[in-house]
């Protein structure tokens, strides 16, 4: 219900053209960087590095594309030192909007990470921590898994978070995922093929051509993908293409066409079923070792949410 409420609120806010995120934007990202933590244990070491736009390639040589796919604006990087010479690197990514921030955040986290109530969402892993707030994503990386370093990650994250005034909301598409059985820590949002390819490589080329997409993982090892298109005709065209493309691939077989709106293929190696349908301007895909009933159940649940029901 919480998600649905947020969906309704989102719809209202867009209807009245309210800003999607509010708060004051810092002129320079380095203003988000605290001089030291409240305890004084962690302090800045050296000067921050900053990169903007295409120059991200200078910092993330050979790996910047995924950031650009989501919508990257600029980054500030600062190293901190703490007790016994421990070090933590803080990277502040300013993205184009909260959707982009949530998207790259969803790319950076893993379901195994522990959730952390910080910003608009955060997770901590063995040696690193990610959180997002407004249109900003912050990644803090330690260089060991020691408790002192983990504490440092959290302390620094909270110190940075305090300086970020803007708030953000997850993309609308995320709220179309049915809540029942959903692993909320494992929701991925896509703005392009690279994000999807990293999450699940259905094809080696972009056969989906969506404008945005989302993946939710559910109990019973089932994944639900929603792909949004500009309009209903675009979604239908793409659906019809996919109905030909899936069975044409060697890795899929046992094609079944249930009706004009639903087909199924089986991924040969995993034995997983893939059900695909389309509703309005969205393509819905369920993958997993589940039957047609489960697929229809999930697709119906999405439809209800599209209609504004529960």
């Amino acid at each position: 219900m919480q998600g649905l409420k947020r969906l309704c609120l989102f719809s209202l806010s867009t209807a009245f053209l309210f800003p999607l995120f509010c708060g004051t934007q810092k002129k320079s990202l380095t203003e988000y960087l605290p001089r030291e933590t409240a305890s004084g244990e962690w302090k800045k070491e050296g000067k921050p590095l900053t990169y903007a736009g295409e120059n991200l390639f200078e910092y993330i040589n050979g790996g910047a594309e995924i950031y650009h796919e989501y919508g990257f604006k600029r980054i500030a990087v600062q190293e901190y030192t703490g007790p016994e010479g421990r070090a933590v690197s803080v990277e502040i990514f300013e993205m184009t909007d909260p959707s982009a921030a949530f998207g790259i955040y969803s790319f950076k986290v893993s379901p195994e990470d522990r959730e952390l109530p910080i910003g608009n969402g955060g997770q901590i892993a063995g040696y690193y921590l990610n959180f997002w707030k407004g249109n900003v994503v912050v990644t803090l990386t330690g260089f060991d898994e020691d408790e002192t370093t983990k504490q440092g990650l959290e302390m620094l994250a909270r110190a940075v978070e305090k300086n970020i005034e803007r708030e953000g909301e997850k993309p609308r598409l995320v709220f179309l995922l049915p809540e029942e059985g959903l692993n909320e820590k494992d929701v991925r949002y896509f703005k392009g093929f690279l994000g999807l390819y990293n999450s699940r490589a259905f094809f080696s080329r972009d056969e989906f051509g969506f404008s945005e997409g989302v993946r939710g993982d559910y109990e019973g090892n089932v994944s639900l993908f929603l792909f949004a298109y500009a309009d209903e005709n675009s979604a239908l065209d793409r659906f019809l293409k996919l109905r030909k493309t899936f069975p044409a691939q060697n890795r899929y077989d046992r094609f079944e066409d249930f009706n004009e709106r639903l087909f199924r293929v089986e991924e040969t190696e995993s034995g997983e079923s893939i059900f695909v349908t389309h509703q309005k301007s969205t393509i819905l895909l369920m993958a997993g070792k589940a039957d047609e009933d489960r697929a229809r159940e999930m697709f119906t649940a999405v439809s209800r949410r599209m209609e504004g029901g529960s």
Binding site: I60, N61, E69, E84, G85, E112, T141, F143, D146, E207
Partner: protein
Amino acid sequence: MADKIGRRTFFKKSAHVGISAAVGGSFLSPLMGRLRQVTGKDIPDVAVVHGEDAFKNTMRAVEMTGGIEKFVPKDSKVALLPNTQSAHPGTFTKPEILRGVIHLCQKAGAAEVNILSLLSEKNWEDSGLLPVIREEGAQLKLVDNKDESLFKAIPVPQGKALKEAMVMKEFYNNDVFITMPITKDHAGNKFTGTLKNMMGLNFRSSNRTFHQSGWQSDPDAIEHLDQCIADLNTVLKPHLCIVDAMEIITTKGPFGPGNLIKPQKIVAGMDRLAVDAYCASIWGLKAEDIIMINKGREHGLGCMDLNRLNIQEVDL
């Protein structure tokens, strides 16, 4: 990863070994004629050494491939290409591996050991590789990746997507080339190894063409990138590949931070595809699922079929 020590301390304490290099077949100097001919069925296609000590693993892995003298003639100039893309754990070639390789090259009588890079000195400092280079008396050759005059246009006759590479001129001042990537995840290609590492010799603007303009909406963007990498490898041929598979990220690559695993392996060999196929298998990837390796096979760069390869693994 190292427990209870800061990054700098960690680098200082762990920097005991290192190695890597590569040399293009087309520019081999007469020195290469003096290479020790070591052949025989005892030399594996892929040498794998497992153990906690990266330095010792490196030394043994090179020995298993026939010994450094097989690759590095006396008085030769050796180019090494480690990966120092990021200082995040599991994303860069370990300093102790580089130390080992420099040490071996010097022992073989190399006149120069040159570490080539398009990245800034800070990358080398942050990764802990710079102190090793200085301590071992090797040379770090930083090439300004914005100055086109420092690069040489190299036709790629076999190229399907890449017709011309722009390789750093500095590379061609060497006789021997040892490539030394760390194997890890990559957001675009799913995998990084010896093939991908070659982009570290190519001019950034040229590398950027590996991502076509409008790549974000191009359905074949990944295929194009992987084809370019395979094409580039037709003109850049390492004499030896030494791959860091000690501690690597298997998600969120190539930059990290991501899921860290510790295979504690050094993988060496002359066949790039064989080495990459083995490295991919370390974290459950199949070579046939990695586009760039398949494209490399189409170019005849090597063998990616692990069942057909002589793979020798030892524990230290």
